[in-house]
Subunit: 337 residues, 2 copies
DNA sequence: TTGTACGCGTTATCAG
DNA sequence: CTGATAACGCGTACAA
């Protein structure tokens, strides 16, 4: 509450505020004795520069805005973990906001964040977002923006994503090599960059192995949908039924696992599962199922690093481009197959 | 970048900054015509008051600091979701920091946040934290703090928690009523408020039903430990083995489920599970297992509401005390038992 | 009804 | 080596 300011120190020590300021940051040649005095007093009074005054003066806040569709999501919370780690090391704080998968809220939140004077923005687009003109405008003013995970081709900026195609390819191929032939794909809503990339990887793996791409084995599950069992049950009623599941998120992988357990279907004897998951969940699930681990934390870290680069030397040509971070396949002990 | 200020508007309209300021916030009696002019121009130029200047002037930031042990955790990310929802409705932004379960980092982070001039702090203590003097000091200066989930008896402030005792009691009793007699308890590290409360609820349910409290059925699992299967395997080797598991977090519940699936143990025929979980995960797991759902989001919301009350009318006597939000038992279809 | 001057906390510039 | 002053953007007491 009653924070001590430079002015307080100056008054107490019978100095001017400028002298105190200089002594504190050791800039100009200052009488060592004066400096010592000021330092000691400041230390004793637990002086902390007021960051708000600094922000006003320097026209920067040392705050990074992060806008994600949902915080309560394994991928995003791990990405934020990575962001936070980098940001704090570099002296930035992180302000979080959610778009709740709504385009409108995304736009408002972006505007609010900019009005709040964040130094840059780290955004993962809502599933509703097609139009990115709200971000284009900012980029044209040279405002630092980095997109991660859910990106858009229409925005010229730095983008950090998982290797969704490669991960899905590896997952599918792993199942094929385990002898699976009818691989169901349970995935998130279409029309998102990540969905399309994963679907493409799945399809390519099938085709390169001479297996048909059968749309009746694909299911799109909305983010709001909490019940996975009807979807799994429906797939199981196909004839012939699938002999494997490739779930495109850990939520879906988990749901499949639980439903299969409830239906007394033994993994991997009757079916195999590979989930596109995040670390932590991956480790917990990995005894019965194989997983493709998304580099969520690393994506967050990389995105934060690149954003801070953009912020701190805006004069340089911005290193535009997409960075793809590899996924990692954790194969279940093959003994069981 | 080049944001328009009151000064710009004043210059353009040949007015003084004070007139513009007053016109904008409609306070003093202003010539309606002038007011209209200013409003229109401000609108057209997309004027936004600089929140940093406001903060400096008003000595408040409209920012709430949230300090949690880990963001990448279902409970905390859901709690943050609730916090964010309330905060944004009330015009606050949310700055997130992690203690990473380290006492030292918690102390540093608290200090940093206060130096950053957050208006109040929402904290869930690290598992290492016994000493809360860093928070006591702040409370004595009347700095607004609300503790949630992981709290401490030694700090006199508002605390918001799950009804851990009641939830654990309900979970255990549910298992007993399903005919289970040897109920293993897989839980998080001891010495935390929530662990103790859940353990107490478990024990009370056993004792009230005439069952022995057997320490060999209890396992404490650290947050760093990703492999649950050795623990479950070890429990299964008890003689007689447990006929049920009560897992004290969704991470642990998930790990138990996966291990049991891998061991071909059928739920609920051979064993039952109840997990102390969070919504979302709860719904996904609920076909095979019953769950006690923690009100994570509601805890976040309530904590944020109470903190904002504290911030906005500090003069009033602070409503100190602990609020316990009920948990909810989602019982698996009993048909299977 | 409008304008002038000041203060919030800090640092850079210029003067001494 | 040190002090006075201006400036960052805003709101407001006071003066006109």
């Amino acid at each position: 509450m009653e924070a001590v300011t430079i002015k307080d120190i100056a008054r107490a020590l019978n100095l001017s505020t400028s002298t105190v300021s200089r002594a504190l940051r050791g800039s100009y040649e200052i009488n060592p004795e004066t400096k010592r005095l000021v330092m000691e007093y400041a230390e004793r009074m637990n002086y902390r520069p007021n960051p708000i005054a600094l922000s006003l003066k320097e026209n920067r806040s040392r705050v990074i805005g992060v806008i994600v569709p949902q915080i309560a999501n394994d991928f995003f919370s791990q990405a934020i973990n990575g962001i936070e780690a980098i940001a704090y090391n570099r002296g930035y704080h992180v302000i979080i906001a959610q778009s709740h998968e709504s385009f409108e809220r995304e736009v408002v939140t972006v505007q609010q964040s900019v009005a709040r004077k964040v130094d840059g923005l780290l955004i993962s687009l809502s599933s509703e977002t097609n139009d990115v003109s709200h971000l284009q405008e900012l980029r044209q003013k040279n405002f630092p923006i980095v997109l991660f995970d859910r990106v858009s081709d229409e925005l010229d900026t730095v983008k950090i994503v998982s290797d969704n195609y490669g991960g899905a390819f590896a997952a599918t191929e792993h199942l094929i090599r385990s002898g699976r032939r009818r691989i169901a794909h349970v995935t998130i809503p279409p029309y998102m960059s990540i969905t399309q990339e994963r679907l493409a990887g799945y399809r390519a793996a099938l085709e390169q192995n001479g297996l048909p791409y059968d749309e009746s084995l694909i299911r799109y599950v909305g983010f709001g949908q909490h019940e996975i069992d009807p979807i799994v049950d429906d797939l199981l009623e196909q004839s012939p039924p699938p002999d494997a599941f490739f779930a495109a998120s850990d939520r879906l992988a988990l749901g499949c696992l639980a439903t299969l357990q409830a239906r007394r279907i033994v993994i991997p004897e009757q079916v195999s599962i590979v989930g596109f998951t995040n670390i932590g969940v991956a480790h917990l699930l990995s005894p019965p199922m194989s997983t493709v681990v998304q580099p969520a934390k690393e994506i967050g870290q990389t995105a934060a690093e690149r954003l801070i680069e953009l912020i701190e030397r805006k004069q340089k040509a911005a290193p535009i481009g997409t960075v793809r971070i590899p996924t990692q396949l954790i194969a279940r002990q093959s003994s069981g197959v």
